[in-house]
């Protein structure tokens, strides 16, 4: 080996390596300032997601199946009008009386949701004498504390925000659809235009401005109650809801810990 690969050259390489390392923080700072300049948005200022914890309560006994929430959600969030895409929808449960001779408390259960309930429900064709009980159940993203959808996402496009919403970053989403399969409540769908996963955002653009989500805003019977766990008031509607009702969550056996609480649901509701 000749002397060209000497200590001098060696030190030179080492020096340049250290130089690169020193340049890293500087580059990082420069980049974030440029980014901040370029990405000024119309987002409300002064909203701190760490100071809120949103949740929704649904009293099934109050729901009259008018479908105004579904309509408002579609309009507010510009969800595709086609009857396959819903961020929230209403299901009508019909539990029939058991057939004569059938040793059961309840008969057959049928669930329907014409156009998600957006246009209201046509009167059921099942004669009243055959119905044991019937009721409407509004459905939406269950705001799981341990959300299966964000665990399934291979690119980290779905995430749980500090304020309790589960959002999709459309810039990261590759449209693989794993989250749609992972959601046990069927609350996700593929946006037909952008081909990215879409779901209830809890009307994130509204709640950050101090408004209620669109579905809660238009609900005529106060079936949906929206609240903030971190900013409970005296006689908070959420607290009243929990005090006055037997409160359940959907599919509790899955351990998803939903923050959408249901009151007065039957075991048929899933």
């Amino acid at each position: 080996m000749n002397s060209s690969c000497s200590r001098r050259r060696w030190l030179g390489w080492l020096g340049s390596g250290l130089g690169w390392l020193a340049a890293l923080p500087a580059a990082k700072a420069a980049k974030s300032t440029v980014k901040n300049l370029l990405t000024s948005s119309g987002a409300p200022k002064g909203y701190d997601p760490t100071k809120h914890q949103w949740l929704m309560c649904i009293d099934v006994d109050r729901c009259i199946g008018c479908g105004l929430c579904v309509d408002a959600c579609k309009i507010e969030n510009k969800v595709s009008a086609s009857p396959h895409y819903f961020r929230t929808w209403i299901e009508r449960y019909l539990i029939r009386k058991p057939k004569p001779g059938q040793l059961a408390l309840r008969g057959e259960v049928t669930v329907d949701s014409p156009n998600g309930g957006r246009d209201g429900f046509p009167p059921t064709l099942v004669p009243k004498s055959e119905i044991l009980k019937a009721f409407y159940v509004p459905k939406l993203c269950n705001l799981c504390e341990h959300s299966p959808c964000s665990q399934a996402c291979p690119v980290g496009a779905t995430f749980d925000t500090p304020d309790g919403a589960v959002l999709v970053d459309p810039e990261y989403c590759i449209g693989c659809g794993f989250c749609i399969q992972a959601c046990p409540y069927g609350c996700r769908f593929m946006n037909p235009d952008t081909h990215t996963a879409e779901k209830c955002t809890l009307c994130y653009h509204r709640i950050t401005r101090g408004l209620k989500p669109a579905c809660v805003e238009v609900c005529p019977t106060q079936t949906r109650i929206f609240g903030d766990l971190k900013n409970m008031t005296e006689k908070d509607p959420v607290q009243e809801f929990i005090r006055n009702n037997k409160v359940f969550t959907l599919k509790p056996n899955l351990g998803t810990e939903p923050r959408v609480l249901y009151a007065n649901i039957d075991k048929e509701v899933r």
Binding site: G17, W20, G42, E76, Y204
Partner: protein
């Protein structure tokens, strides 16, 4: 030679490794979004982007600002639990420009909630369209805000 020297083939390997790690770290700095990791393992700006869309439904408070008298009347009426925009439709355009008139009420609005169905709670007022004045319009008899009052 007294000092121990790195064999040249090893030296080349070390330099190559350093170059790869250096390129990776520099590329990572530039490819990672600025707000990544602000709240968790995701782009913090995504929250802001989700929040940046303007609302379409203005909210009852916005209605109260101009229509305070009607709003106060409604709080005593039978339909007090019904929000303005439930019947009158999304009205942010109207709030921004009062010349844009909200959609007119039709009978469809009434029937949506009050058509008789087995799944509706029994205490909720319901009508059968074939029995309850089939040829009349709802609003010919009923006042929308106080429906048990006749015109």
């Amino acid at each position: 030679m007294t000092s121990p020297r790195l064999p040249p083939q090893l030296l080349r390997l070390v330099l190559l490794t350093l170059a790869i790690i250096g390129t990776y770290s520099v590329a990572r700095v530039f490819l990672t979004p600025a707000t990544f990791g602000q709240f968790g393992h995701y782009r913090g700006a995504a929250l802001e982007e989700a929040a940046s869309r303007p609302p379409v439904y203005a909210g009852a408070k916005a209605c109260d600002e101009c229509h305070g008298d009607t709003f106060a009347q409604l709080t005593k009426a039978r339909h007090r639990s019904v929000s303005c925009e439930a019947c009158h439709g999304p009205n942010r355009p109207h709030v921004k420009n009062p010349d844009i008139v909200p959609a007119k009420l039709t009978d469809r609005h009434c029937v949506r909630c009050h058509l008789a169905d087995a799944a509706r709670p029994a205490k909720h007022r319901q009508i059968n369209l074939t029995e309850h004045y089939p040829n009349e319009k709802c609003l010919e008899c009923h006042v929308a805000h106080q429906p048990n009052q006749s015109k």
